[in-house]
Every structure is written in C-alpha cells, then in structure tokens.
C-alpha cells in the first residue's frame, strides 16, 4: 500500500499544483470580467454626459479618459482635443491629451500638447516634467535642462522636478550636479525611495559600486519588491566581484518577475566570471531568445561558444553580431550628436534617418520636425515629413 502511495505521490502533487493554477486563472479571469463591466458602465455614462452637455469641457475630458482606459486612442484624442478647445485657459485637457498621445507613441503630438500647455501656463509643473521626460527619452537633455532648471529654482522643495533635472544631467555625464540634486531629493523625501533610487544607477555608472550597493540596500528596505532596484544592486555586487551576493539579488528579482531578462543577463555575466561557461551560456541563450536585438548578448554568447570549443555556433552568432555592430555604431554616433549638438539640424536629420531605418516613424517625425525648426530650408526633411504624415493619415 505504501509503495502504491509513494508511486502516486508525484502524480498527486502534480494534480494539486494544476488545481491551484486553474483556480488562480479562474479568479483572475473573473476579476478582469468585473473590471471590463465597470469600464463599460463608466464609458457609457461618460458618453451619455457628453451627449447631454456637448459644451461641457469636463464631460469631454472624462470621456477622453474613459476611451484612453479602454484603449480607444483615436476617440480619446478627439475628446481631449475638444475639451482643450473648450478650455482655452486651462491645461487639464492638454495634459491628458499629451498623456494619451504619448501612450499612443504619437510623440510629436504629445510634445505639441505639452508646449501648448506651457504656453498657457508657463509654470505648470506637470507640463514641464512631462515635456522634459520626452526630451530625455529622445536624448535631448539640454532641451530638458532649459525647462527644468528654472522650474527647480522656482520650486526648490519639489522633489519630482529635481529628479527629472538630475536625469537630464546624468544623460550629459554631469554626475556632480546630478548627484547633488538626488541627495537633496533624498533629504526632502527620505521615505519616498522611488524618487532617489537613480542615485544607485549614478554610482554604478561612476564605478562607485560600494556606494551604489549601500544606497541600494537602504532603498530596498523601503521598496523590497522593486525589481529594477534589486537588479541595480545586483550589478553593484557584480562589479565588486561579490558574485554570491550578485546572484542572490538576481535570483530575488527573478522570483518577483520571472520575465526579468536583465537579471538573466547579469546571471550569465556572473557565471562567466566564475568560469562556469555552460551555466553562462544557458542564461545568455535565454536572454537572446527573448531579446534578439540585444547586441552585446550575441557578442558575449558567441565568445563563450568559441571558448567552449563550439566554434561553428560561435562563428555563426559572431557573424551576426558583427553586422549588427555597424548599425549600432551609426545609431550611437547619431544619438551622441543629437545630444551634444542640440542646435544642429544635420544631427537631427541624421537621427531621423536612423529611426526610419528602424521603421520607427513616430520618432522619425519628431526628429524631422526638430530639423525643420532649426533649418526651415531643409527641403529634404520637409518633403519626407509631408510624406510620412500623409502615410500616417491614410493608415487607420
């Protein structure tokens, strides 16, 4: 009897696990259904409100928000634009419009909305921060400085603006100024660790790994579930050659988020340093499977294959890495010039072309608009922009 029971044990365990999984799935499905019912109800109500009061900006704004939450971006934009038109002096609709456009990857429209909001209310902090983050995202940190520096001077106790300015500084390697701001933020909001965790990144970037690990540990007491922070601290340990601690961090990150590719990547590097080549290869194969565009993975993995006497695999993957590298060099060059020659129409024009090669039309449009802002006589940029906009208008 005991033998039968033991033989069935794995099966029983499997069934129990399967049952638990099914229960969890059912529960999640039910929750989602409830959420959709609620959304539909709120949407219908917002539509009714607009139908009843078509001149009420607030009603249009509520409807825009509802469309946004159910992913009907075109409708959301239309309602937010109507609200903005009705609220000529207010900025709420413009800020929502910017938010919607950004989520829809219509970055140029988002920038326009933020700029209009700032034209209406030059001291609007939400618009300043939102526009600055867009500039930072585009690698235009000096544009962000121009907005944020006066905002920080006017609001010295506002930690959010300081964080945004610090990030703009970090993008320009102005570490000293960035560190000062982030330390001030930590003083202003010691319990809001999410605001000052960029300090960990700053110290890691500056090879101040011990300081990075120390600040990271402090932040983790407040944000124990923050996967990005756990990864960052893990990187500090990796650079301090403290591989057990690093691996512990990455394991913890993966327990919280099994899809954390960065953790797998750094686990691969830890194993590489410990000369555990097969384990390193396993991690990096996994990373490459999820993120085939991550060029460095291909490079390291290829090298590890070569070191493990798997020359055919190594040569194949390294050949791929080689051709990707040329493209990457062009991208790096264009990105650097845009960041460091902010008044150069040529730099922005080159960046637009890089985005087009990557088939990222939305970003290309932003760079083309910037090119024309700096050089209105750049006819190539003008005609390309017109063509892209026409294509966009044709595509639903």
């Amino acid at each position: 009897m005991a033998t039968i029971y033991l033989a069935l044990l794995p099966w029983r365990r499997h069934m129990a696990a399967e049952l638990a999984r099914l229960n969890k799935e059912t529960e999640a499905r039910q929750k989602e259904e409830h959420r959709l019912v609620d959304l539909r109800g709120a949407l219908t109500k917002a539509q009714d409100d607009v139908a009843r009061s078509p001149g009420d900006a607030a009603a249009h704004l509520r409807l825009a928000a509802q469309y946004h939450s159910v992913g009907r971006m075109e409708d959301a934009v239309q309602q937010a634009e109507t609200a903005a038109g009705l609220q000529q002096k207010d900025t709420a609709a413009l800020l929502l419009l910017a938010d919607i456009q950004q989520h829809a990857h219509h970055y140029d429209a988002a920038i326009r909305a933020y700029k209009t909001a700032l034209a209406r209310q030059p001291d609007n902090l939400q618009a300043s921060v939102g526009l600055s983050y867009l500039y930072i995202m585009f690698g235009w940190p000096q544009e962000a400085d121009g907005i944020l520096e006066p905002a920080v001077r006017a609001n010295p106790q506002n930690p959010q603006i300081k964080v945004a300015l610090a990030l703009a500084y970090l993008q320009q390697n102005r570490y000293k100024e960035g560190e000062r701001l982030l330390l001030e933020v930590r003083q202003i909001a010691p319990q809001d660790a999410a605001l000052w965790t960029p300090l960990v990144h700053l110290y890691n970037t500056n090879n101040r790994y011990s300081e990075a690990a120390a600040v990271g540990r402090d932040a983790l007491t407040l944000l124990p579930q923050n996967v990005a922070l756990i990864d960052e601290v893990g990187q500090s340990y990796y650079h301090l050659n403290a591989y057990p601690e690093a691996l512990q961090s990455f394991d913890r990150a993966l327990a919280l988020n099994p899809g954390d590719i960065g953790a797998h990547y750094y686990r691969g590097l830890c194993y590489q340093r410990q000369n555990q080549l097969e384990k390193a290869i396993g991690e990096l194969e996994l990373v490459l499977g999820h993120s085939p565009d991550f060029e460095r993975t291909r490079q390291i993995l290829g090298t590890l294959y070569m070191q493990s006497h798997r020359a055919a695999e190594g040569q194949r993957i390294l050949a791929e890495a080689k051709s990707a590298n040329i493209k990457s060099q062009e991208r790096t060059r264009a990105g650097y010039l845009v960041a460091n020659q902010p008044r150069s129409a040529v730099a922005h024009w080159q960046m637009a072309q890089i985005y087009l090669v990557d088939r990222d039309v939305n970003r290309a449009v932003v760079e083309l608009v910037k090119t024309l802002e700096l050089d209105p006589n750049q006819e190539q940029a003008r005609s390309l922009l017109a063509r892209l906009q026409a294509d966009k208008a044709r595509t639903p």
Binding site: Q142, E177, T303, K322, N340
Partner: protein, 505 residues
C-alpha cells in the same frame, strides 16, 4: 579633439654607437581653432653618462608638423635606423637616416604620406618576409581639417571635446616595401582596408606561431582588430572570432595602448589593451590556437585600471625576474573633467603591475611612490635601457607638458640578457625575429618588433630578465627561416649577433 590625444616618443640608436638616443614628438594646443606655436620634433643624443644633448637643429628633423606617432626601423637595410612619423592635420613623414646625425625627409619619393588620414600609432613589420620592412599605420577618425572639428556642448552651452563616437571611422594603411626606397599602398589589396575602425594602437605578434607576423590593433569605441597573416600578402580580420575585439561584457574598448607578448612564459600570447575611465584594462590570454579570453579580473588588473583613463601600455620586465610586467600611463582627455565627475582627475598616476608568474599581477607603482604617484596627463610610453645597465628605463610623454624619462632604480640582483640582432638575409635590424631564451627556470619568448605602447617605440633590442639564472641557451628564428642557436650565453651583458653567425659578439 586632436589636442587631447598627445604624441609619442621613441628610443633609437640613430648613430649606431650602442647607446639609446631619444626622439620626442610634439604637437600643440589649438586655441581658437588655430595651431599655437611651431611644434617640432626633438632629437636627443645620448652622451653615455646619463645625460642627453638636444641635436635637433640641423638634423633634418626640425620640420614643423602636428606629430602623433613614431616607428623606428631600418627600411633600406643600410645599417642606420630610420624614422616614420605620423601626423594629424597633414601628411606623415619618412625620415631616412643619412648618417652623421642627419635625416632626410623622403616621404614623397617613398610614397608613404598617408595623405588624408589622421595617423596615430605605426609599426614596421616585414609581413611578407621578403627581408624588407613594410609599414602598418593606424588611422583614427575622419578629420580632414580643423575646420571640420565637430563642436559639442555640455550644459549651459559649454564647449567640450566630442567623444570619438561623434566621428566617422577610418581604415589602417598598409605600405609594402618595394625596395629602392619605394613603397606601395596595399591597404585594399591586403584586406587591411576592409576593416573600418578608429585605430590608436598597434602591436605585432605571431600568435599562432606559424612564423608570419599578425597584427593586433586597438580601436577607440569600436571593436578591436586582429589581422591574421594569411601568408600570401593578405590578412583576414578575426578580432571578433578570436575574442579580442570586445571586453568580457561585450563592449568595445576605448582602446589606446596595446601590447602583445608571451608574458607568462607558457608559449602563448597575451594581449593587453588600455581603456577609458571606469572601463578597465583588458588582459586577453590565449586559451586556444585562435581564441583569447579576457582575464582582467582574475589577473587583478581590473580594480586599479578602472580608476584611471589608460593610454600608453606595454609589457616590460622591469625587475628582471623573468616575467614581463605591465606599465600603464594614464590621464583624462577632458581637462575640466573634475567639474562634472568630482572623483576623477585630469592628471593621473602611472600604474605598474608586477607579474607574479601565476597569471596574476600586483600593482606596485602606487606603492613605490614617486614618480608613479605623481599625477601626469600621460599619453605615450616606451622602454629602453638608456644607460645599458640591464634595467629597462621608461620614456613617458604627457599632454601639454614635458616628457618624462624615468631611470630604473630597481635594486640590481637579478640577472639579465640584452641582444642586438643584425639581419643579413632578413631585415637588417632583425624586426620579426623570434628569440627564445632557455634557462633552468623555463623558456622565454620575445619577438623583435616596432609598435606596441601608444604612439611610441621601445628599444629594438630584445631584453630578458633571468632572475637567479646566470647563463642561458639562446635560439633565434629569423624571418628568413635561418635559425641561430647559441648555448651557455653569459648573463648581464649586451650581446650582438649577425644572422647565421651562430655566435654572439
């Protein structure tokens, strides 16, 4: 940007008196985008008493140029060492040593002006083993003129130097020595021109021991090169496949200085490449016939080199214990870096890593105090035994400052051997010859070569520390195929040997 990169220096014996003389290269600051002053070369004659005399005037080297790198080699096998000088903002120069302390600029006749390029490190190499020295020239980025300099800005519209990523890539140049004082540009035909990079350093080493010299090139912010000699006048670029193109994290180096040699006396080649601030010097150990692994961390190079911005780097057995050590000179490129990165300095200390012989190194420069601890904006470096006392001395160039000549005062005790090779069938100064020195402690291997370091040229005489050993068996494999073997060679002496003679003088 060019004013940040420094210029090199060389040990050479231009008058053949057996004492190492020195040539220093100069360039200049560029206030307002104009070259300031009149940068000239400087030639110093060794007075054999620890002093030098400036003999530049009238030497034929007193020509204004924006000089970068130098290689010493007897390209016409007339027994006198000639000079090749690379430049920015103008052509390179080939100075033929006419004897009597005079050089003649034969660049145009020879066809080696490297026109249109920003030349950096260079090396003489007889890549086809025809007994005549050919020339490999590293070129940095596309930089046709000062007017084409890219203006980059930090916050508040403050002008800064652009990083190399802002500039377009270039290719190295390879000149084949046709004889009769003429060279042919074989960059394309040899396959060298197929690889685009931003090249700053070059080291020659026959890593696969097939008797044909291969070429390692350090590139700045793009993958490094390893040009494998295909033995038919062409090269195949195998940097990525071999593992030396990137660091262990898949990043290209900000490669400036480079050297390649058998530093652990195990018959394999190691390659070191200096790197940018925070990015650590790589040490590639050969773990297969054509596979290298970056062992910078296990070799204990990473921590100290991560704190500096490395330029010149070379292998030299400073204490004659039989293992080649690593010298690295450092200095940042942004003179105002401290404003943005408070813990980083423009002038930086010099690092000296002692080879423990077990695959690891220990930094001893900082522990030994001055001159290593005195911060300089270091760029080029070369070793040479200028007083022939058997202890390699150091020549270091600095950006916008005087050069440094450091006399090696390591307590004597260990034995040594220095060789001067004179080719007859092979090129006259023996460049490309492989020298094996066998003692009870093991076998050391060195190639006679120009290049290595950064923009500079070391003593062409192969030098071996022997530790406690007092005699050695020496085996010389000449590029011509001739092998000389000499047994029971006495230590603590500079020996001269003619190719095929089978004995030292």
């Amino acid at each position: 940007m060019i004013e940040t990169m420094g210029s090199g220096g060389a040990f050479l014996d231009y008058d053949g008196d057996g004492w190492q003389d020195i040539v220093l290269l100069n360039n200049a600051r560029l206030p307002g985008g104009q070259v300031s002053g009149h940068p000239l070369l400087a030639l110093y004659h060794n007075n054999h008493d620890g002093t030098f005399t400036d003999v530049t005037r009238g030497s034929g080297l007193d020509i204004e140029m924006y000089a970068m790198g130098v290689a010493v080699g007897d390209y016409d096998n007339d027994g006198r060492e000639d000079l090749y000088i690379t430049c920015a903002l103008g052509p390179s120069h080939l100075f033929h040593n006419e004897g009597n302390g005079h050089f003649k600029d034969l660049t145009q006749q020879a066809g080696v002006d490297n026109a249109g390029h920003w030349g950096t490190s260079c090396a003489w190499v007889d890549y086809d083993r025809d007994g005549k020295l050919d020339l490999i020239v590293c070129n940095y980025v596309k930089y046709p003129s000062l007017a084409a300099d890219l203006p980059c800005f930090a916050g508040n519209h403050q002008r800064i130097y652009c990083i190399p990523a802002a500039y377009e890539t270039s290719t190295c140049t390879l000149y084949h020595n046709e004889g009769n004082g003429r060279f042919k540009d074989v960059t394309t035909a040899s396959g060298i021109g197929a690889a685009r990079g931003k090249s700053l350093g070059v080291a020659i080493a026959d890593y696969d021991v097939d008797g044909w010299p291969d070429i390692f090139v350090a590139n700045d912010t793009v993958p490094g090169f390893l040009f494998h000699n295909e033995r038919n006048g062409t090269f195949k670029e195998v940097g990525v496949e071999s593992g030396v193109a990137y660091d262990e994290e898949g990043n290209p180096h900000s490669g400036m200085g480079i050297d390649a040699a058998d530093i652990f006396n195990n018959g394999s080649v190691s390659v070191a490449i200096s790197n940018y601030q925070g990015q650590q010097t790589s040490l590639y150990n050969q773990i297969g016939s054509a596979v290298f692994r970056d062992d910078k961390v296990t070799a204990h190079l990473a921590t100290e080199t991560g704190k500096v911005l490395g330029f010149g780097l070379l292998f030299v057995d400073y204490d004659n214990d039989g293992y080649k050590d690593i010298l690295q000179v450092n200095g940042h490129v942004q003179d105002d870096i401290q404003k943005r990165e408070p813990q980083v300095r423009y002038a930086q200390p010099t690092l000296l890593f002692h080879n423990s012989g077990d695959g690891t190194f220990q930094e001893v420069g900082l522990k030994s105090g001055a001159p290593f601890t005195e911060p300089i904006v270091g760029r080029g470096c070369a070793w040479g035994d200028f007083d022939n006392d058997g202890r390699p001395d150091l020549l270091i160039t600095a950006n916008n400052g005087p050069a440094h000549l450091w006399h090696n005062e390591t307590p004597p005790g260990n034995h040594w051997l220095t060789l001067q090779l004179i080719g007859t069938k092979s090129c006259r100064d023996g460049i490309g010859a492989l020298v094996l020195v066998k003692t009870a402690a093991g076998v050391q291997r060195s190639e006679v070569r120009s290049g290595s370091g950064y923009l500079s040229q070391s003593d062409l005489r192969p030098h071996f520390g022997l530790g406690t050993q007092t005699q050695a068996e020496v085996e010389i494999h000449w590029p011509s195929g001739t092998v000389d073997r000499v047994a029971a060679v006495a230590c603590d002496h500079i020996w001269k040997i003619h190719e095929g003679a089978g004995r030292f003088e």
